[in-house]
């Protein structure tokens, strides 16, 4: 069934290489996109709980916009619409970016900003779940509001939400496949190409699917490891997110 991977495509490369190159783009999108999402998400999430009404309202606006438009439509907005709305020179420059990058950067920004809205809501929930006494104690010690956020509130909120961030990590790597709609040859796109070139659809799709499943497992183990690494001694362990491939691979997760 997987012998298709060891046949050569029209460019002389093995289909396995096609698939791996797709995997590379998928990983690059997911990994860099995640850090964009995390950075914006923490800022916006903290902004949601700001005492300043303007900041709170702007953060809310961000979340509502990026959460309530399908990721596919956002992909089109970044790829087709944004260059038209930019000043002519800049727009032309964006449109003339060489092949993979012309699709990669819009996809990256799309996935980063979209996932950021979801991360922001988790961060906000984490902050709101902290006991009131933490902020009071920081204030009573004379810490500024910014320092209170930076040293007391955010570090605790992030630890609290690691299990729910797991599903956002899984979300962004799954959404990387949406980038195929603007022509990025990531994993799913490569699987489809192989299928169209060879008519060995089953083998092509199964190979990509197995890679996705392994990625899910890796993402899950990584988050468990992060959870354990940042676990605060003397507190009860957090409830881990559910293992994606329950009992299929490896031993039980949580320590």
């Amino acid at each position: 069934m997987f012998d298709v991977l060891f046949q050569r495509g029209f460019d002389g490369r093995l289909y396995l290489e096609w698939l791996l190159s797709g995997l590379g783009w998928t990983l690059a999108l997911a990994f860099i996109g995640w850090w964009i999402a995390f950075a914006i998400g923490v800022l916006v999430g903290v902004g949601r709980t700001s005492k300043s009404r303007v900041i709170a309202a702007l953060s809310r606006l961000y979340v509502e916009i990026f959460r309530n438009i399908p990721v596919l439509v956002q992909m089109f907005l970044w790829y087709f619409v944004l260059p038209e709305l930019l000043p002519t020179g800049l727009g032309t420059w964006v449109k003339q970016l060489p092949p993979p990058w012309g699709a990669f950067f819009p996809a990256l920004l799309c996935l980063g900003t979209y996932t950021a809205a979801r991360v922001a809501e988790q961060v906000r929930a984490g902050i709101e779940a902290l006991p009131q006494g933490q902020e009071e104690a920081a204030a009573a010690l004379g810490l500024s509001q910014l320092d209170t956020r930076r040293f007391v509130v955010v570090p605790q909120a992030l630890r609290l939400i690691i299990p729910s961030l797991t599903s956002e990590v899984m979300g962004i790597y799954k959404n990387t496949s949406v980038a195929l709609t603007i022509g990025l040859l990531e994993l799913t796109a490569q699987a489809r190409q192989i299928s169209e070139n060879t008519f060995q659809t089953f083998g092509a799709f199964a190979s990509a699917t197995i890679i996705y499943l392994l990625l899910a497992l890796v993402a899950y183990r990584l988050m468990l490891w992060i959870d354990a690494k940042y676990h605060i001694p003397g507190t009860s362990p957090s409830k881990p997110a559910r293992k994606p491939l329950f009992g299929l691979f490896g031993k039980r997760g949580a320590a």
Partner: protein, 230 residues
């Protein structure tokens, strides 16, 4: 920024409306079918039914681990084959885009709904099961009349939020060239070169629908919170 012509949107409205109807139909049917199947998947795991329980676990895990577009490709490849085999026709039997999409989304969403229900089932107080047993109710009656109504009450905001995501996800049938709202907009956009106007317009439509829906869910969440606090 100059030269945007939103009159093309007005001309396209009837076609876009048909696309939106497709999106909504797909959402509603996949919601109903997915929820029924999701409850079944959750119950099988909760009751630890032999054989079925691990199968359900694996099914849910796989569905939740791969991208929806990959699932769509799989189903559009497999469903005609399977139906062909079931009808002994010896060749794939295509059943049309809407039906294949409905089957795909129902089965896909079932995995997500089942996780919500499963967590809901675990959150029901143990005393409820014991009380039902004490009243010598059958397992079926216990779940149908006592446990599930409570689970639905607790989880309804999460289920509805998941359904808003489902509605957004229906846009992905674009990859199969079906004519949902996004597909309709893209077809017109490519026909007369109005990508900017069309995509901005449907973005607004999705934004309005999803924001209103999530506001409704927020109101509901507040109400259930009051109803469940003792």
């Amino acid at each position: 920024m100059n030269g945007l012509d939103f009159s093309v949107v007005a001309d396209a409205l009837p076609y876009l409306w048909k696309g939106l109807q497709f999106s909504l139909t797909l959402t509603v049917v996949a919601f109903a079918a997915g929820l029924v199947l999701g409850v079944a998947l959750a119950l099988v795991q909760h009751l630890e039914v032999p054989v079925l329980s691990p199968l359900a676990k694996v099914y849910v895990a796989i569905m939740r681990s791969i991208p929806l577009i990959m699932v769509l490709f799989w189903f559009f490849f497999l469903v005609p084959l399977i139906i062909g085999a079931m009808m002994n026709s010896g060749r794939p039997v295509p059943i049309g885009g809407l039906w294949t999409a409905i089957i795909t989304f129902s089965l896909f969403e079932a995995a997500y709904y089942s996780e919500i229900i499963r967590v809901g089932l675990r959150s029901v107080n143990k005393g409820q099961y014991e009380a039902a047993k004490a009243l010598s109710l059958s397992t079926a009656t216990t779940y149908r009349s006592i446990v599930l109504p409570q689970v639905f009450r607790i989880t309804s905001p999460i289920i509805l939020n998941q359904t808003i995501i489902l509605f957004q996800d229906t846009s992905l049938v674009y990859v199969l060239s079906l004519t949902d709202l996004t597909g309709a907009a893209s077809k017109i956009a490519q026909l007369n070169g109005t990508l900017v106007e069309m995509y901005l317009f449907i973005a607004l439509v999705y934004l309005v629908i999803c924001t209103s829906a999530s506001q409704l869910v927020a109101v509901l969440r507040k109400r259930t919170r009051i109803a469940t606090t003792r």
